[in-house]
Symmetry: C2
Subunit: 599 residues, 2 copies
């Protein structure tokens, strides 16, 4: 039906007769001539309709925006001065000989190149929204990225093995989506939160190198960067250690960035322990584009009169400082705004010191309501450790370590980007390694797995599993990019005895372990090889690459934050007959209807 | 951890020191020396442990089947006469210097190279079953096939766009798997039976060429070649007609067979109308390896006394003959067996005539209980049309057309393969085209869509939509291979007015259409391009390619025919708390438990 894509006709085709198919982006009547911007996946081309072909011209007069046309015409150079350098086809235009209207269109609710649409409008009219060039670019890039991953993995001996969607709940900690079974009354499948256990089983089964680009599901309350279903690039390999796995993976990430964005990422990626990342950046996914750093001052403020500092310092909390070079010029209003900002992360305030004279660690040199309650020793330590200079400002966080890290970590990124404390690098990948095996759940009073319960402890920390779980580090690694965690993984436990010890540390007794992961424990008994792997969040990587505001802009048919599809109106009601076949009924129908009405 | 895969060490590595990782398939002690067959994904290698390295030898003595080893040793030529031509590594062996036991194994429930295991044992111990070389070959081939499809589609400008798994029920006719919504009480997502509507929306959105290799779901009673979740290679293109689409697709199939099996399929594939396929083969997926054919004799037997023939012939049924060359030698026992066989397909008997003398269309030349009730004219017509020769046998089917086609179609394939009526070709693809738009549902007394309600009627049949729906043919095409339907598709309706007409023919009123497919109807209004596509069943294609007995042999973690995963024991029970969160409860708990006990 066509000889070229609209967006790919160039001066190389001059004087050729071409046939094009596409959508009318815009029709302009100018000096008795009709100009049509014809659009397809590859871009725009200008079509010129002269009145000297009356039949064709009459058709041209009838067309409206978003009509689907097939046109045949001759490629000619645009008149001098009317070229459009923004278009691949910008030097030429097509003098139309024939038009066929392949389909008409009613007037769309918005103009396709309108960039100021609400998300609700966009998601409701998603089909038209998907015609926007930015969305087409995003989804094409997404494909390019996925294919680059596949090509690298294929070349490196990984094979794609599909794992089940209808499966058993896996212990990822989030809420499962459940699927009632018709054949087995009262029983349910779960949609996978990840293929974790299956990929480990494939290693035990000797498949050696596995990958999959697959949908995973979590029924969680949604945040800006979450969707009920998301896409994971999941891989696992046998007979490789932590260093080899992360080495291969970063080679892959470099390949993907080079192939899809023509960007050279550093070689090698910097590596940092979890402890260092938290200490210096308050985050296990530090944005290394930002130059600001946190400074530990907990030990220096234990004795001070200022209870806001000495309290947390003496009860296992953290007190950290963040020097802002030249920050003494920050206005009261700006500081108030930052104070509100850290409040989001649970900080009850944002103490600060303006450094007027760095040589005087006292009320003469420092300007702040808190200075008089801090000892000169403490102030000297703060100035020395932060390296503060006259004219700087120092922000403080003092609370439970988590609150301090979350609050100052976020402030660091916000302030860094707003005030230009950045390195200028576009892409700053970093491996964060040596994660703790466990974190203590204060509510449940027990240790939980930081990564998941199949993560291997470091060889030299095996004894700590019993004696000091909190100090036990894992062979786990995350890859952060520009402050986003884009991938994470670990070397897994391949020995049944160590897996049992980890379950004991997690207070999972044998019966529970057997019910939940019996098939994995069985598999470990039959010659499991050393293995490990990693999973990437494809949605996030592409969001970062496109600079999109939301992962919804890199997903063709996303759900809203209320887990709805505005296009198809899913979820929806179902027949009573269907529920009966599935052996379930709705709970409190009346209450339900009230709820629906409310929503 | 290794320098080579076990299965890839060859004479090219002679005198090299290699390090290998793998599983012990078998250990043999022979003349004071220990031989280990070490296995990995790529195959086997023979490792020889001499007692002159006592430490290594002691380890070798401790190992058992399925232990995971890392061994280092020197490649040497096997002694003359002990080579194994079946192995890539068959000319060499590795003289072991060091062994490390990476993991032990308890005694497996079966030997990995045992080919006589029940399916229940295999699925219960799937991890060990997946170690069997045949399963590894199957899954590797599956990957190779999927990648070949991707490569072809990528090269031809198709882009992979992911469509939702949590969606609204699509009208494929089968039962949906439902997923209760937590956020929207009383509402449900459906898992997709196919991405049909989404891929059409992507065409309307201008993505031009789409593909996806994706999971689809049908909650149906399972047959040998069905799974609750199956994998579809799904594609759609704009601005191409039926001939162009099938042309591109068969080029793809040739590419995939060449790449993954090194097989050359015919170019072009033969094409046949649905009507011809039913007439000659009684099937819309004819196995063209079989040379036997059906012959239409309905019109020739309308007047005969034999009611078994004249009844169906005069009431819209079909009477067909199938000539079996030389079939007069079939025994009474064989004919009885075939009679039982056609009974499976609803045939109430299997009439036949043995042709002793083809020149005498009467009781002298023909041997059969039915001959005396057939007129000489009828018998002459039968002999002429079938081309029967002396020594042949003719089988008959006489019933509703569906019963005759199913029964004789199946008999044709069975008898053809059993008795060698085959062309000798290994692969016989064939396009079946010009499907009817509608078939009449006798139970519901209404027309239903043969393909799906978005299939375009042939341009010249638009008027038949109202006047004679049964005669209206569709732009639909199936690709059959060796008697299996491996793919099917159609050109879709891209005009809203024609879509409305088709809904009317299907007795779907406007309100129902709006509720079920409103978003598609909306999309058609905004400039839908001409488009069409096709979907392949990956599981089936790979099953055919491997010659596996069941699609379960080409799926890593399949469900049983009762839709259960014997490995993970899914589906399973869930907490009352989870049900409460999902606003559902189990129906009649007591009854449910009785049901479970029964199963």
């Amino acid at each position: 039906m066509r000889t070229h894509y609209c967006g790919q006709v160039t001066a190389a085709d001059l004087d050729q007769t071409v046939t094009l198919c596409g959508w009318v982006l815009r029709r302009r009547d100018h000096g008795g001539v009709i100009f049509i911007d014809l659009r397809d996946r590859e871009g725009l081309v200008q079509v010129v309709c002269d009145p000297d072909r009356p039949e064709m011209f009459a058709t041209a007069e009838s067309i409206r925006n978003e009509f689907v046309l097939q046109i045949t015409g001759k490629v000619r150079r645009r008149p001098a001065g009317t070229e459009n350098a923004n278009l691949v086809s910008g030097e030429i235009e097509v003098l139309c000989h024939e038009i066929e209207v392949l389909n008409a269109s009613v007037t769309p609710p918005f103009q396709i190149d309108d960039d100021n649409l609400s998300e609700t409008v966009r998601l409701t009219h998603r089909v038209l929204d998907l015609r926007r060039p930015q969305m087409q670019k995003n989804l094409m890039l997404r494909y390019k990225v996925a294919m680059a991953f596949r090509r690298f993995l294929d070349t490196n001996g990984f094979i794609d093995v599909e794992t089940p969607m209808l499966t058993k709940s896996t212990p990822e900690g989030a809420r499962d989506y459940l699927v009632p079974s018709r054949v087995h009354p009262g029983q349910f499948f779960a949609l996978p939160q990840s293929p974790q256990l299956f990929k480990q089983l494939l290693m035990v089964a000797g498949y050696d190198r596995y990958y999959q680009i697959t949908k995973c599901f979590r029924d969680e309350d949604l945040r800006a960067d979450r969707q009920p279903e998301f896409t994971q690039i999941d891989l696992e390999t046998s007979f490789m250690n932590e260093i080899e796995i992360t080495g291969l993976v970063e080679e892959m990430v470099r390949f993907v960035f080079k192939e899809s964005l023509d960007v050279e990422l550093p070689n090698p990626f910097p590596r940092m322990t979890y402890a260092e990342a938290m200490r210096r950046y308050g985050s296990d996914k530090p944005d290394l584009r930002v130059t600001l750093e946190l400074t530990e001052v907990t030990d220096a403020v234990r004795e001070v009169a200022f209870k806001v500092f000495s309290g947390p310092a003496n009860s296992g909390g953290r007190v950290a400082a963040m020097r802002v070079p030249g920050g003494a010029t920050l206005t009261r209003g700006e500081i108030d705004e930052y104070t509100r900002f850290v409040g989001i992360y649970g900080a009850r305030g944002l103490a600060y010191i303006k450094v007027n004279d760095a040589s005087q660690p006292n009320e003469q040199g420092l300007q702040s309501p808190i200075v008089k309650n801090l000892s000169e020793d403490a102030l000297r330590a703060i100035l020395e450790r932060t390296g503060a200079q006259s004219g700087d400002l120092i922000f403080f966080g003092a609370d439970k370590a988590k609150v301090v890290n979350d609050a100052l970590g976020a402030l660091r990124v916000k302030l860094g980007h707003e005030k230009g404390f950045v390195t200028g690098e576009a892409w700053t990948p970093v491996w964060v390694v040596d994660f703790p095996m466990f974190e203590y759940d204060e509510e449940d009073k027990r240790w939980t797995a930081c990564h998941h319960p199949f993560t291997s402890p470091k060889d030299e920390h095996l004894d700590l599993l019993e004696s000091d779980p909190g100090a036990c580090l894992a062979k786990a690694y995350d890859l952060a990019l520009n402050g986003w965690e884009i991938g994470g993984g670990s070397v897994r436990i391949h020995r049944a005895d160590i897996q049992s010890k980890v379950f004991r540390a997690l207070n999972i007794d044998e019966e529970e372990a057997r019910i939940k992961f019996g098939f994995l424990l069985d598999a470990l008994k039959y010659g499991a090889p050393p293995h490990g792997g990693l999973a990437f969040g494809l949605d996030r990587i592409v969001t970062l690459m496109t600079g999109a505001e939301s992962i919804r802009d890199v997903i063709a048919f996303p759900k809203t934050q209320r887990a709805q599809c505005l296009l198809t109106d899913a979820p929806g009601d179902v027949d009573e007959r269907q529920l009966r076949e599935l052996h379930i009924r709705l709970r409190q129908k009346v209450e339900t209807q009230v709820e629906i009405a409310k929503n």
